[in-house]
């Protein structure tokens, strides 16, 4: 009870340190809450709307062929179904001939089984796509209209068919669950595909059957019946729980990134919590000493301090949770139209509980030491503490508590992360960075102490700065640590962003072809080559392509095989396969040998070495691929290290020519063209061969550019939060030293110092702080960038001094300016009132 009374009186007694504790905790917990709440809102949307996002209770996807009548009849036995087909096509403005790649989808009368298609002007999908006169109707995303310069009522052609554009698609319920798209959506009736003339042997077309199970039919029973009847399955099966795997993966990664950045802010803020608690305790030291002299026990004092701190921490936590919970609303209000799904807004307990746990663990980790210290120091020593800090020996209790809380913080970080491996690296990296910056801070203090012992006659400003850095109770170590962590995150993430941008803007365009042409029929190949060359193409590489699906790895069905995370994408759907009797020109064979010309033994495959590693296979192992319903066992003959960033003609799977003998293949081609001839080549090929689709690399890069720009924005915002936490710690340090600074400034003025002399001392102090933090941050930031680029993004890491230097100059300037702004009051202080006050 007495502790509560003392705590209450203590809180009344002064606000020193309050702001820092509350603000740091609020910022860190707020950032984590925001990240987890947004994740929760989006994940609930993905889960609640899963059937609409998939388009049914289940989806069966076939490549090249539509389901047979028997298969359709079988499926009908389980409920309603909707059939559609998807393919990449060239849509062309019938008026001026402008063309663009589009994602064509045919729909039947039953579509959509779940959710609703919104069209503008409002009409039914059947109306919009119906055939009237000679023309079929079509609905398209606004982007298609923009690219082709079309308006409603205009005509466009796809292959040999003519369409009249009747509606703009405002909302397509299963669009977010669709595969990666390179162009805008174009919806047409199922009867309109055949007239396009695009259905050729080997044309890449996906046929989808969407199922709405009849009442009483369960998904498990349906799946069981499918497996029992069709073995091997001719289709790829997805149910609503897998409606949006790529979105979920993206969400996993984004949340992990944002949570880790939020956690970094909390750790940076942790220094602020420690400094704030120190300031909070320091302000109360005289009273604590007096209470000890009056007979208060250590436990009573400790309890009163802990109660005071806990009340402040609770305020910071509560504010962080409230502000963070509001983030989904803010994001939906500002970026809602750019998100693939509409978040289901609401407050969930779990994200708040997780964020609060992080906050509480951070409090225990960072505040135990200053609280325990104040309680453990003898009364007389407390009064001398500012002059000569007591070397207090803690008992095992506080040490154990801090160690356990730090371990729990690390463990909890790993436990809640979608990517545990990355979280482990974050924890290890964070611990190393913390150690490096703590060491850096200590080094600054030691060097400042040693330097101030040197004769620095005539350098009063420098000596004043040095003495401020190493004086008893200086917050140098905390500031270097917190600012350094924030700056290193900024340097590291900036380097990653710059490297990604360089890859897209300079390195890829330098060697990438101008176009990919798809769906070239074997009998069109010669005409294609001739047309492209005549129009200005300089280098044409063609390859046979057919889609196939991996069904077994080392004779184990893929569903049961152990596959590494990096290679999991290869078994998620069907993959492009090619054949070659000789290795590609830039084949980098790292294991095994290429098969001899005219090889006629058991089918062989040359595999991407990274995929082989993820599959756990090597030379001589077997992989089985399903092509058009036929299972082909392949023996691995060689492994290649592929440079995907070249955007050249590369295949994960290259088969010996005999493996696909007789299969209906089409060809794809990469074409290099001088920039001034690109339009001519595209036009010439499209005119001569309207069924061939073309992907402009510049368009694809522009799309990638937009993604990277978005990532860049997220990176800057995230690093900004961590830097803000660093700035809070700096502000707290400046604020804590304000009384001392004013006293010093007044005294120096009395002794004859002009304001310029004082200004120089402040600049020296903050420049030394900023440069020290910046130098360590440069090193740690480069390490972060190297880790992310080489280990996560599998890119080459190059040292880019300019972004590092620029970031640091900005950081150091900001620190110096903040220091100046913070000490402005001290510089302006008039001596007399302070001397009178003393």
């Amino acid at each position: 009870m007495i502790s509560w009374k003392l705590a209450w009186r203590g809180l009344r007694g002064g606000r020193s340190g309050w702001f820092t504790i509350v603000a740091c905790l609020m910022l860190g917990v707020g950032a984590i809450t925001a990240s987890l709440s947004l994740d929760d809102s989006l994940r609930r949307a993905l889960s609640d709307d899963a059937r609409a996002l998939l388009g049914g209770d289940a989806e069966l996807r076939l490549t090249y062929r539509a389901p047979s009548a028997d298969e359709t009849a079988f499926l009908h036995g389980f409920g309603d179904l909707s059939q559609s087909a998807e393919m990449r096509v060239m849509a062309r403005n019938s008026g001026d001939g402008r063309q663009t790649l589009a994602e064509l989808k045919t729909i039947d009368q039953a579509y959509p089984l779940f959710g609703k298609v919104d069209l503008a002007p409002a009409q039914s999908l059947a109306q919009a796509t119906a055939k009237q006169g000679e023309s079929w109707g079509a609905a398209a995303e606004q982007d298609l209209l923009d690219r082709l310069g079309l308006k409603l009522g205009d005509h466009l052609s796809v292959g040999s068919a003519d369409f009249v554009l009747r509606a703009v698609i405002m909302r397509e319920p299963d669009r977010a669950g669709a595969n990666f798209s390179l162009g805008p959506r174009l919806l047409v009736a199922d009867g309109a595909l055949e007239p396009t003339g695009l259905i050729q042997p080997g044309s890449l077309i996906h046929h989808l059957v969407l199922m709405k199970l009849a009442p009483g039919r369960t998904l498990a029973a349906f799946r069981q019946a499918l497996d029992a009847t069709y073995q091997p399955a001719p289709w790829l099966f997805r149910d609503a729980s897998e409606a949006t795997p790529s979105l979920k993966r993206l969400l996993d990664r984004t949340t992990l990134f944002l949570t880790l950045v939020g956690l970094t802010s909390l750790l940076v803020g942790g220094i602020g919590i420690a400094d704030g608690t120190t300031a909070f305790v320091e302000r109360r030291l005289p009273d604590i000493a007096k209470l000890k002299c009056l007979g208060a026990s250590t436990s009573v004092i400790l309890a009163s301090l802990v109660i005071q701190f806990a009340l402040l921490a609770a305020l910071g936590l509560a504010l962080g949770l409230v502000i963070g919970s509001g983030a989904p609303w803010l994001v939906m209000a500002t970026l809602g139209d750019r998100l693939p799904v509409e978040a289901h807004l609401g407050v969930s307990f779990l994200p708040l509980a997780k964020a609060a746990s992080f906050g509480i663990l951070a409090c225990i980790t960072f505040a135990t030491r200053p609280l325990a210290r104040a309680a453990a120091v003898p009364g007389a020593q407390l009064l001398r503490d500012r002059v000569a800090p007591a070397a207090v020996r803690f008992g095992p209790g506080p040490r154990l508590l801090v160690a356990l809380a730090a371990l729990a913080l690390a463990g909890f970080t790993i436990l809640i992360s979608a990517d545990r491996k990355l979280a482990v690296w974050f924890v290890i990296g964070g611990a190393i960075a913390f150690g490096l910056f703590a060491l850096g801070g200590r080094l600054v203090v030691t060097v400042a102490r040693l330097a101030s012992k040197r004769p620095l006659a005539g350098h009063l400003s420098l000596r004043l700065a040095l003495s401020s850095l190493h004086r008893p109770g200086a917050l140098t170590e905390g500031v270097v640590l917190s600012l350094g962590l924030g700056l290193s995150l900024l340097v590291g993430l900036t380097l990653v962003e710059v490297a990604l941008s360089r890859q897209i803007d300079e390195q890829i365009p330098a060697k990438a072809p101008a176009f990919f042409f798809l769906d070239i029929q074997p009998d069109q190949a010669d005409l294609f080559d001739r047309t492209a060359r005549q129009a200005g193409a300089t280098d044409i590489v063609r390859a046979v392509m057919i889609r196939g699906r991996i069904t077994r790895i080392k004779d184990i069905p893929v569903g049961q095989a152990q596959i590494g995370q990096d290679a999991a994408w290869a078994v998620k759907g069907d993959r492009g396969l090619t054949v070659a009797d000789s290795p590609p020109a830039d084949a980098n064979i790292v294991a095994g040998d290429w098969w001899p010309k005219d090889y006629d033994g058991p089918p062989l495959v040359s595999l991407d070495s990274n995929i082989a590693k993820g599959f756990g296979v090597g030379i001589g192992d077997s992989i089985t691929i399903d092509v058009l319903g036929r299972e082909i066992p392949l023996k691995i003959a060689s492994l290649r290290r592929i440079d995907w960033a070249s955007l050249g003609m590369n295949f994960t799977f290259v088969l010996s020519p005999n493996a696909l003998a007789g299969a209906p293949t089409s060809e794809i081609a990469t074409v290099h063209v001088p920039p001034d001839k690109e339009a001519a080549v595209e036009r010439a090929v499209s005119d001569a061969l309207p069924t061939i689709s073309v992907i402009r690399i510049s368009d694809a890069l522009a799309q990638l550019r937009r993604v990277v720009d978005g990532i860049g924005l997220a990176i800057r915002a995230a690093a900004g939060v961590a830097l803000l936490a660093g700035a809070l710690v700096l502000a707290a340090a400046i604020s804590a030293g304000q009384r001392r600074r004013i006293a010093e400034a007044v005294l120096l003025k009395v002794l004859g110092a002009a304001r310029a002399d004082l200004l120089r001392a402040v600049l020296w102090e903050f420049a030394i702080l900023g440069v020290s933090a910046g130098m360590v941050a440069a090193g740690v930031g480069c390490l972060i960038a190297w880790g992310v680029l080489t280990k996560v993004l599998h890119m080459e890491a190059a040292l880019l001094p300019l972004p590092v230097v620029l970031t640091l100059v900005l950081g150091v300037t900001a620190v110096a300016l903040a220091g100046l702004a913070g000490t402005f009051r001290a510089l302006q202080a008039r001596p007399a009132p302070y001397l009178r006050g003393e």
């Binding site: 001398r384 500012r386 002059v387 000569a388 004769p455 006659a457 005539g458 350098h459 009063l460 000596r463 004043l464 003495s467 401020s468 004086r471 001392r740 010093e744 005294l747 120096l748 003025k749 009395v750 002794l751 004859g752 110092a753 002009a754 304001r755 310029a756 002399d757 008039r830 001596p831 007399a832 001397l835 009178r836 003393e838």
Partner: protein, 233 residues
């Protein structure tokens, strides 16, 4: 402006000081006329709150007079900027406070060297060391104020005040925080240094017997000079 030593060393004519307080304007000093010859010592006595310390602040240029004229060492303070006043103090004045006002983050040697360094003097640390030896602290050069006794701290303050060999020394209750014996030692030292330097000294004190060691004693009450009398030899 070139400051030169002319008689009188300190001249205050009709000086008033009014400060704004929470309860409104407060008249601290009123119509003060005072002059001090070069080399003269002046004791200023009066009850608490009478305006003694404010008088010293005005003389030091740390407080601007609300009206009247302040002229020190031939320099009129009117219109001087804060920085020019600071430079003036650096060259011509030494000040000692009751609360010592040493910089806790600097050693005794560095504290004494501050005014020398600000003035750009040759070998400031060497000169500072000699000053500290002069006040009997040659063995405490590297000590921080927090590790020195009150008497030692005030000796450091004296060494600092005399470091620039100022022509005017202002001392505001220099023994107020010290016991009687230590206080006496400090005052003896102060007068000894004054005799060696032959500068003008203004000593503010509560202690009439201490003030009577000066050539003249001024008594202040309610911001007015009530008495200004020479001390009989």
């Amino acid at each position: 402006m070139t400051a030169s030593l002319v008689d009188p060393s300190v001249l205050l004519e009709k000086v008033s000081l009014t400060l704004a307080g929470p309860a409104g304007q407060v008249n601290i000093l009123a119509d003060i006329d005072l002059s001090l010859r070069a080399g003269e010592t002046l004791g200023v006595v009066g009850p608490s709150g009478s305006g003694k310390s404010s008088l010293l602040m005005v003389m030091a240029g740390l407080e601007r007079a609300s009206s009247g004229r302040v002229k020190v060492a031939g320099t009129d303070f009117a219109g001087l900027s804060e920085d020019r006043l600071a430079r003036f103090r650096r060259e011509h004045m030494g000040i000692v406070f009751q609360a010592f006002h040493l910089m806790g983050t600097l050693t005794a040697l560095e504290n004494v060297a501050i005014p020398l360094e600000l003035a750009g003097r040759e070998d400031p640390l060497g000169q500072a060391a000699r000053q500290l030896e002069r006040v009997g602290l040659g063995h405490r050069l590297g000590h921080y104020p927090g590790t020195l006794s009150g008497g030692e701290q005030q000796r450091v303050a004296l060494a600092r005040a005399f470091a620039m060999r100022p022509k005017i020394l202002l001392a505001d209750e220099p023994t107020g925080n010290l016991d009687q014996a230590t206080g006496k030692k400090i005052i003896d030292l102060l007068f000894e240094l004054h005799r060696e330097e032959k500068n003008s000294l203004v000593l503010i004190t509560h202690d009439s017997s201490l003030a009577e060691r000066c050539d003249r004693v001024v008594r202040i009450e309610d911001g007015h000079i009530h008495a200004d009398e020479p001390v009989p030899a």
